[in-house]
Symmetry: C2
Subunit: 229 residues, 2 copies
């Protein structure tokens, strides 16, 4: 039986890389990447294409969301706001990009309906939902209803989030077991060459590798002593 | 008391022009226009700015959704697919742009959260829902829930669709009563100079004016005899 197509949202980070691998077991893949003007887009786009090459994915769509630069209001995009150092403990960190996942998922669904894909995969995790309300499980449940009512009668597109309830450590272990090339992924919020090792995203990545007892092959400017493998 | 801000999705058509007028009664306005590569964008963008000038709106955001051209699959964008002539009776016409409203509304909500607007207005009508599933009342109800769960705890953004249950004839009458400058609006799916008078959108506009017993001041290439005022 011919495999169905799945659109996978691929930021180029660890979670999306593992999600690709899970999706690949069942579906032909179509990779979607959104450039929203974030500081590290050069590196993220490179990771996107490296992962697409690794998984032999021909169907690739890169969407330029330049309006996020006009909208502003987040340190991930606005160079006048510093990327905070350390693990975030704020309710909503400055790296919050309002309603980002709604925009990303909507494009994914539009594309899925055109190419006849039956699934959209997102590597979102509930762990991120503390600071980012559009990462909540309930957000994805409601979005699934929106897709059902807002597409053609004969269209059926499921939104799948296989990592939703997993902790980063377990994602690291799972990815390693599945042979996910984490060295091709990018997590740093700040740099486009060597990962800073100090932003929330670097620290969470380092902590995950540390807890999993696995070495991270990418290079860091700085690693705090207790996070070194 | 200082007026709150509302983001209004302004395509440049009749419905959005009337929606602006309704929103203006209560809110300071911020106008959002999406260029998704549609054939008539030159004229729609002109209408957007003309309406913004008319309503004295300084806050304007024009978003370029060029990815719709990459995604394709709709006659509104793809020049290789003809715009059909006559009133549409198909379940899903070729002018359908998959999940368009989800993308538009998501950008509106992102912008609203950044500028602190408490409302997003859309000029959508249920009359369009026959061919466009993302114009359904239920779609907007679910989207409202999505906004509630997917934005910050202290954010409260209502999605308002004041024309939802109105027929085009009644929108024409209401707009005329409220002094809406319909001569600044654009409805034609096909042309950027003189309205074609033959596409579904022109025919529905002409029929609405005819039923309302009001003259349409814009110029048409052709008007079928029975729709002349």
């Amino acid at each position: 039986m011919k495999r169905k197509f799945a659109v996978v949202l691929v930021s180029g980070g660890m979670d999306s890389a593992v999600t690709c691998r899970i999706a690949q077991k069942t579906y032909n893949l179509a990779f979607l990447h959104i450039n929203y003007g974030q500081r590290t887009e050069i590196k993220e786009l490179q990771s996107f294409h490296s992962l697409a090459d690794f998984y032999k994915v021909k169907e690739r769509l890169v969407v330029d969301f330049t309006h996020f630069e006009k909208i502003g209001g987040t340190s991930l995009i606005d160079r006048r706001i510093d990327i905070p150092e350390g693990l975030s403990d704020k309710e909503t960190p400055s790296t919050y990009v309002p309603f980002r996942n709604a925009q990303f998922l909507s494009v994914a669904v539009s594309w899925a309906e055109i190419i006849g894909a039956s699934v959209v995969f997102s590597g979102v995790t509930e762990e991120d939902a503390a600071g980012y309300p559009d990462c909540r499980r309930e957000f994805f449940e409601i979005f699934s209803k929106l897709v059902k009512i807002g597409t053609k009668k004969d269209t059926k597109i499921d939104i799948l989030t296989p990592l939703m309830s997993m902790m980063k450590k377990d994602i690291t272990l799972l990815g390693t077991k599945l042979g996910v090339p984490f060295e091709l992924t990018w997590s740093c919020y700040r740099n486009n060459d060597v990962a800073c090792g100090r932003c929330d995203s670097c620290l969470r990545r380092l902590r995950a590798f540390k807890k999993a007892g696995i070495g991270d092959k990418i290079e860091y400017e700085l690693q705090t002593q207790d996070l070194r493998p």
